[in-house]
Subunit: 382 residues, 2 copies
């Protein structure tokens, strides 16, 4: 099997995560909304998970709502906050995930919301002065939607700074934290944010489950209607195995965060160094090679332009390396990355995203650089 | 552990279902939207599942969309068909699941849709003449939303008849088939229905995954935005293990449908007979004791009124029987069942729903009737 360097698209489920999920596919099969013993047993599992999950993020259990994933979470937070609080101005950036951008577009066309894109610097970092100006200029109730870590180039935003600005100008702050939950320490008791969302499969949990944090006092109507689950915020029978698994996944991530970070950052630094040495003309897109300002899990590069540009991922794949051109969610479409296009300093050559995880090794990196070097010298083994 | 007679709330995952899911929590962990080998492997699994799932329902693979469950499916079909086709009249019934009723209420309040409740006969069966009248009277594009099998009392609708009427009057037909998929033979190549939804955990699949069938030619925009998954109809990384598991669950159900039906119907008939013999004054709510017109999986009864009325489920639970008062989705709320209240012939005493599955035995039934008899004679063992 290929070397897997696409951990920003999805991660391998941790064995310990699967282990805690199994009883909920077997003997503990009740519906948590049922009041009998079969139901109570799983209800307890959901609520214990909620408590543990909240503790791990510095939140209150009543602020955690389980969803089917990050995309549903972004849709719910943005649409339901906008509706409930009659938001008229949404300030976001053009390099957000489509789960945010497409939802904001819909709010613009169907709910008369004004969309404002905050300026980005050459490397795609949020221009905080421009954000402040936009907040000042907003004529009515406004909402800022800015992601924590960019899924394509890895740029990290300072969510404490954004939160403070939002607080100063009484704006709502929604944060897509899909790439950072489980990888960065997030303390929601300190950060001023109204909603954040995450997805289990990005931090070694299962696919099909995520969460939405909704700050105490924020009162939304559900996006998905039809039952009193999740305290009337999200109808539908709970994905118990998923919820229990996601909670275990977050617990494992947080317990070993420093260790994982050291290991993964080491791999990223090793790759940057090797690429600089062995591939003259390599471009690091966004802030990818800026250790402080980018995700330690993501490295986005462009090779020197060549006639191989459109076949790079295929060549990598044929040579045993799974990488991506950017967001997996957009890879079905033939248009290029909206993120790369929006960042001035990005190369015009095809971008390659390598994203690292706890199961990667130095050997994975060395082999990958070797393959890239061969591709560049057109001595491709296929 | 209790005798489990709440299979309409959720069912135990079949061992063979879990078996096919496991590789997608382990080695096959890619994101199906990724183009490399890890991604292609799971993409193939999703598309093979779609093909198999479609075949089992007489549909085309392009008509099947995977969702997070029945509730999301009802929300999507109703809201997106209404929006796309500018539906102005929705004809439904007051005994639909809340996933339908609450969604229709929202369409009424936010999208200027007129809601019309079709008349029901004394037992809660759809009055087809009244449905035809409503279709005739509809002034504009209309949509009929009627469920296949009622989750509380078990009443079965004739979806072929409803489909024919909708065809005659060029109305859209949405059907919540959550209680019948996997339990009844459904051939979508023959039934005139625009959308149906189902949920895996109601037919021995996992929780957190369902499907929406959308007839070829129906073109909706997605409810959940942000990615090109499910051919642009439902954004978000696919729950592969869930999708593979749901497909296996449906396959097993359909392979052994007659055998399961004989067994489960035998249990229901045994319970009806025993209750009639041993509990004078027992009332069968809706069409519950009408074998032809109700789900073979559901029996809804009321015991003769007594001061124990509010403690029946607790008494059953204490005596080792897991049953329910109706919909699990509404059990968190303290208001009584909207279904029981809407059906004239239903007893005013507390309703008890017993719902049977393939793992139940005659002994489960005999023991349950024994407990009910004891409760009625107030000689309750606790």
């Amino acid at each position: 099997m290929n070397i897997y360097l696409d951990n920003a698209a999805t991660t391998q489920v941790d064995e310990k995560v699967l282990e805690v999920m199994l009883p909920y596919f077997k003997e503990n099969y009740g519906n948590p909304s049922s009041t009998h013993s079969h139901g109570r047993k799983v209800k307890a599992a959901v609520e214990e998970s909620r408590k543990k999950f909240a503790d791990l993020l510095g939140a209150n259990p009543s602020e955690i709502f389980f969803t089917s994933g990050g995309t549903e979470g972004d849709n719910t937070a943005l649409r339901c906050l906008t509706k409930k609080y009659d938001i008229k101005d949404v300030i976001t950036s053009c390099i957000e995930h489509h789960a945010v951008l497409h939802t904001v577009d819909e709010l613009e066309s169907c709910s008369n919301v004004n969309k404002h894109f905050v300026a980005l610097n050459e490397s795609g970092m949020v221009d905080y002065e421009d954000l402040e100006k936009a907040l000042k200029d907003a004529k009515s109730s406004s909402l800022v939607s800015l992601m924590h870590g960019n899924n394509e180039v890895g740029n990290l935003s300072d969510i404490d700074k954004i939160g403070s600005l939002c607080k100063e100008y009484t704006a709502f702050f929604h944060c897509d934290a899909v790439q950072t939950v489980g990888h960065y320490s997030i303390d929601l008791s300190k950060t001023h944010v109204h909603s954040i969302v995450g997805s289990a499969h990005k931090f070694h949990g299962p696919k099909g489950v995520g969460f939405m944090y909704l700050k105490k006092g924020c009162d939304i109507d559900p996006l998905i209607l039809g039952g009193s689950q999740e305290r009337n915020r999200r109808a539908g029978t709970e994905n118990i195995a998923g919820i229990v698994g996601m909670t275990k996944a977050l617990e494992l991530c947080i317990q070993q965060m420093d260790e994982h970070k050291d290991h993964i950052l080491g791999l990223k630094v090793r790759m940057i160094k090797a690429l600089r040495e062995r591939i003259p003309g390599v471009v690091f897109n966004g802030c990818s090679d800026d250790i402080e300002n980018s995700l330690y899990t993501v490295l986005n590069i462009s090779l020197p332009p060549s006639e191989m540009d459109n076949f790079l991922l295929m060549q990598l794949d044929l040579n045993g390396v799974s990488a991506s051109s950017g967001s997996a969610c957009a890879s079905g479409s033939e248009v290029g990355s909206h993120v790369i296009k929006s960042i001035k300093s990005c190369s015009s050559s095809k971008a390659l995203r390598f994203s690292f995880g706890r199961y990667n090794t130095k050997e994975d990196i060395d082999r990958t650089v070797e393959v890239l070097e061969k591709i560049c010298s057109e001595k491709v083994i296929s």
